[in-house]
Amino acid sequence: MMMGLGVFGIVAAIFHLFTHAFFKALLFLGAGSVNHATGTFDMRKMGGLAKYMPVTFWTVFVASMALVGVFPLAGFWSKDEILSDAWDDRPWVFVVALIGVFLTAVYVGRMLFLTFGGEYKGGEEPEHGEAGGHAQPHESPSLMLVPLVALAVMAGVAGFVNLDSGLETLIEGWLPKESEELVTHGGFQWWIALSSTAAGLAGLGVAWLVYGARAVQSDRVRHIAEPLPEILENKYYLDWLYEELFVRALVLGGAAWLLSLWDRYVIDGVVNGVGTAARWGADQARLVQAGQAQLYASAMLIGVLGAIAGILIIDPK
């Protein structure tokens, strides 16, 4: 999604960013819902959840399709605008983007099939002492479902409003009048839309082959793609979202950790240091004030001499 900014209209990019928020939030909440039911984030311990938690399944499904960019969900339109702009500008970016769409589809598909397809694999082993179990997963309480459904509806609607540039019209209504000229109206090119949809479907298909139908042994795929899946699956045991976030948190967390040191020791160090220095000065001043009248009188005389010298030296005229 980030590469978008380099090549095309700001509106398309930003809109993609924000619609992205829809699916991402949706997937997040869906993951929470699934976790609530199974007590784990490890997808290999899930499976078959579509049966037990239909609402969660369908909403996550909508989010996934939107993320892949399937017509006519929100993700399709914004991605489409990005791709058309990329094609006009730098075709190789377009190719890279298509590959990105394909890969996204693969991992989204994997998530869907592992989690919701097949048979339930038991969830987290009940810990001793805890009343147990997730033997029979169940749909989350309506409290958790309401946001899911709301977001899913919006992810869908956000896509439909894009038909006939309805999106731009909507956005214009939201924005200051002054900004209308900034909102560009992108052209719609069928072949681009088709190729991106095709790439997405192809990715989903691959995922289905490997994880859904088991037509291809995932071990063999793994063997070919060594060592990437190894790291992703063994090291973190988390669904794709968590992988992404944890990588982000680790990489950026390092930077952020450095920044926090900077905050605490450098910036606050300066702030507190000023205070310390002032107090040090105060102690020095107190030492001078030893209570001796001779000293005080001397200070007055020195002051007189200093003032005279100061005036006459600085400005002898």
Partner: protein
Amino acid sequence: MLTLAIFLPIAGALAIILLPKEEEHRAKVIAAAVSAVVLALVAFMFLDYDRDKAGYQFINSTTWLDSDFSTLRLKYAVGLDGLSLPLALLTAFLGLISVLISWRIELRPKEYFGWLLVLQTSLLGVFSALDFVLFFVFWEIELVPMYFLISVWGSGNRVYSAWKYVLYTFFGSALMLVGILTLGFTADTFDIRELARIGDIHDAIIPTWAIFTLIIAAFLIKLPIVPFHTWLPDAHTDAPTAVSVILAGVLLKMGGYGILRMSLSIMPDVARDASIWLAIIAAVSILYGALMTLIQQDLKRLIAYSSVSHMGYVLLGASAIGTVGLTGASMQMLTHGLITGMLFVLVGMVYDRAHTRNIADLSGLAPRMPFIAVMMVVAGLASLGLPALAGFVSELTVFLGTFEKHEVMTIAGVIGIVFAAGYILWTIQRVFWGAPDPRWESLADATAWWERGPLLAMTAAIVAIGVYPAVMMDLFESGVTPIAQRLG
């Protein structure tokens, strides 16, 4: 009427202070009543504001001080225009909410609610002052209640935090005072309308950029921007909930408002030259704040750092020095006030119940407190800029306005949005979802009217602005258009 709205809270505070000790439980009732009346007054002005005429309305003006020896005239002049009116409304709204969510304050309630009301007066005064010295007076008054509220009713390292807050702010306003005096001397007036009409001053005794720097320093510290932000996490974290709400919701906006109202419109030439620097500072603040947010372990600290990041958008919008960017900046002030205010209310409720704000300790709270969880999701989604909620429109407008002017900085700002999605969702995930922890089995949901009412009201406002932003956007646009014209 405006004057009444400004000073009514002080009158309420006096009434509260004079309550006999046995009656001190009535303090909150008086405070709520006064705040409600103030909100009603400001809301009435909001509806009554003539949007076709624009400009300052509800003006009360009288001479305050006249000097024989200098041409200095100080006025008591207040009025509201499209820029200040929504912010005044926000102040009154959050003012009432801050009183309501303090319903259970038992420690020295007379003083507590008294100070809350004094705070309201100073904030309303800041947004409606039409004389730079009057503005400064209100700006300074705010320090006193804040100091007491944090240092007496706060938690954790509250005394240190209160100090840090006061000294940082006082440092900034000290510089601003010199800037105001120099400006007033050169321009021969302190009237903000006059100053804006005069536009750039010449032949000042010190270079105009120096005056600009002196004045904007106070606003940048208040906003705050990196590296003058370290007061904020401390103050937010250690302040009582209601004060965190006001602090994040309104006080930070004083900085943004000052930049738009004073720095940009009074000294447009300098502002134009400085705009790239402002954009750079803004981008640094956005990214720095976002990165810091990612690694926070304390819920309040986390939201505090996210404020640093989000207020960076205000400065980014301001640096665009065009109508769209300025509208975005002012919208961002309003929406951030609502959203972050709501987040602080929620975190306060969690803290009241669990007595910890440590994210690592909290887990699986949603089944225990479903209402709070739903509200948290709403506020969180609004904060990360979900379309159809308030945050989206303002951030989008900021980007639209800034992109042409400062392309790279805007992109940096957009990256901040990505982080926002990360830290918000991740936090909600960790705190509300996840395995239920037996320690939190017995926690109760928010059920009292004074808990649910404010949250629902804030949700309504966030959704309303998200769905129909024009209600605020048009006003803001009418308010910033004159400023943008001066800059353009």
